[in-house]
């Protein structure tokens, strides 16, 4: 459903991505694993049309995604950005409603809102509260719920575990297959390589702007390079 071909992205003169190719098939959970500054966030923003690539293409369901994020949203992608980026001056409920901005089906929107409250019960308790007053974990759940409110065919998750306690991270990662089971494809960018690999069907390792490896999680988890560089095991 998502196909990225030879994507190169620059920030001024700095090259952040160098000819990256990647694919997400329908119904797949694909993880993107890499160290700080490897280019994960750059890739996610470029897929969504927020950054203009120097060369290469992003193709979603057979159509090229232009450098216009509102069009990417229309095409059926949803984004939960790094550091959440909620609207702090809007209530929890208004943030969710913003997620459904493009939808007109009022009754369905109300039903999806209830579904989000069922999936993340704490949001229900806080729904009249300003998003800026939520705890980090609550904010992360809201960021994901907001992205789901647009009923995306593909959900891009950038560092959902950032700043969360191990327990919350655990709970959050448990939601990923749950969302996927509703037919949503997922591209997950994570520094927490172990968790990201555990949950994925397929994964890419990104290193200084290029794809270094692509494989099944099982193979990557047993690769010496991944074990040493991303999982903290020492070479034997």
């Amino acid at each position: 459903m998502l196909e990225i071909q030879n994507l190169t992205v620059h920030y001024g003169k700095i090259r952040a991505l160098d000819s990256v190719s990647l694919e997400v098939k329908p119904g797949e959970i694909v993880s993107l694993v890499g160290a700080n500054g490897a280019g994960k966030t750059t890739l996610i923003w470029t897929i969504f049309g927020c950054l203009k690539p120097t060369s290469g293409k992003v193709i979603f369901e057979g159509k090229e995604v232009p450098a216009k994020p509102n069009v990417a949203a229309k095409m059926g992608m949803g984004l939960s950005p790094e550091r959440r980026r909620l609207f702090p001056n809007l209530t929890v409920r208004e943030n969710l409603r913003m997620g459904a901005y493009l939808r007109k089906d009022k009754a369905e929107i109300a039903r999806d809102e209830e579904n989000m409250y069922a999936m993340f019960p704490v949001l229900k308790i806080r729904y009249t509260q300003y998003a800026g007053t939520l705890s980090g974990g609550e904010q992360q759940m809201l960021a994901i719920a907001r992205a789901l409110m647009c009923r995306p065919k593909l959900l891009l998750l950038d560092e959902p575990s950032l700043g969360l306690s191990p327990l919350l991270t655990e709970q959050l990662f448990a939601k990923i297959p749950e969302v996927n089971a509703t037919g949503v494809g997922i591209l997950l960018s994570e520094q927490n390589a172990f968790k990201a690999l555990k949950v994925a069907h397929r994964a890419y390792v990104i290193e200084t702007g290029t794809i270094a490896m692509e494989d099944t999680p099982q193979n990557l988890l047993s690769s010496d390079h991944v074990r040493q560089s991303y999982l903290g095991f020492r070479a034997v």
Binding site: P81, F87, L90
Partner: protein, 289 residues
């Protein structure tokens, strides 16, 4: 005397609020002070003047016409002077300079086309009514009612509609709003149409109360002060700032001295900014806009 001063203060304060709202709306989204706004208010006064004195329309129709005219100019102002900067991700300073350029351009267009004459509106709402022994100007009452009406309408729009919610969202994070499907060009068109429409109403009131001339936009510096007093970028701030300024001016004129009026307003601004650098309503997390 007291009641009359109060109503006059609230009336001029209401008009300041209408103007300040335009500064604040634009500031909240694009983070710059739109110094072309004052000139657009001036154009509103001209539009209204021509509609009622040359075409002989009533005040209501003239005001509506002025609103539409200034809304269109305001939208064009954004498309021609700010959009190119936006696409290049320019910093706010450049927007401000571009705004000043647009202001000079429009002001000079007025000099070239209609000249520097002073015009006065036909008389509207000249009477006064007596409330409990005090005489209150009809114009003041009308100005206060109409500004209140439009400000309530705007508040409802921003808080109860999806487009309004999107404007508040974009005022915090334009990029993320666009990833949810918000068309930023369209959203800014709405924002500038609103700011422009409010400028039109305010311009007509200023024209009816004072005179119409090319540099009358200077009066709107005070509306900018009102926006800053309230905390620029904040809607309640613009309203409260406008009303405070109107009341201070009215009471200083009535009880101290008319010539000291502006000295008081500007001193108030400076003192307030020393105490509260971001204005009365600025920067509190939940109340930007």
């Amino acid at each position: 005397m007291l009641l009359q001063t109060l109503v006059t203060g609230l009336a001029i304060g209401g008009v300041y609020a209408l103007m300040a709202v335009g500064y604040s709306l634009v500031f909240s989204i694009l983070n710059f002070s739109n110094f072309a706004h004052g000139v657009i208010i001036m154009l509103g006064a001209y539009f209204g003047y021509y509609l009622c004195s040359s075409l002989g329309l009533g005040i209501g129709a003239s005001m509506l016409g002025a609103m539409i005219g200034t809304a269109v100019i305001s939208i064009l102002n954004e498309k021609l002077a700010y959009r190119p900067l936006r696409l290049r991700k320019a910093v706010p300073l450049y927007f401000m300079i571009s705004a000043m350029g647009a202001a000079m351009f429009l002001e000079n267009m007025v000099y070239v086309t209609v000249g520097s004459h002073f015009y006065s509106y036909p008389s509207f709402f000249t009477g006064s009514i007596s409330i409990g022994g005090a005489y209150v100007g009809l114009l003041d009452i009308v100005a206060l009612s109409i500004s209140t009406f439009f400000i309530i309408l705007l508040t409802l729009f921003l808080n109860k509609t999806m487009m309004g919610t999107a404007i508040r969202a974009a005022s915090r994070d334009m990029l993320v709003a666009s990833t949810l499907g918000v068309n930023i060009d369209g959203l800014l068109m709405v924002v500038f149409a609103l700011a422009g429409g409010f400028a039109g109403i305010a311009g007509v009131f200023l024209g009816v109360k004072y005179l119409v001339y090319p540099t009358m936009g200077v009066i709107t510096n005070k509306a900018y002060i009102a926006a800053v007093i309230g905390g620029i970028g904040s809607l309640p701030g613009a309203i409260v700032g406008g009303l405070i300024l109107g009341l201070v001016e009215s009471f200083v004129s009535a009880y101290i001295s008319t010539t000291l009026r502006d000295v008081f307003s500007f001193s108030m601004l400076i003192i307030l900014l020393l105490v509260l650098p971001s204005g009365l309503f600025g920067k509190t997390l939940d109340e930007k806009l």
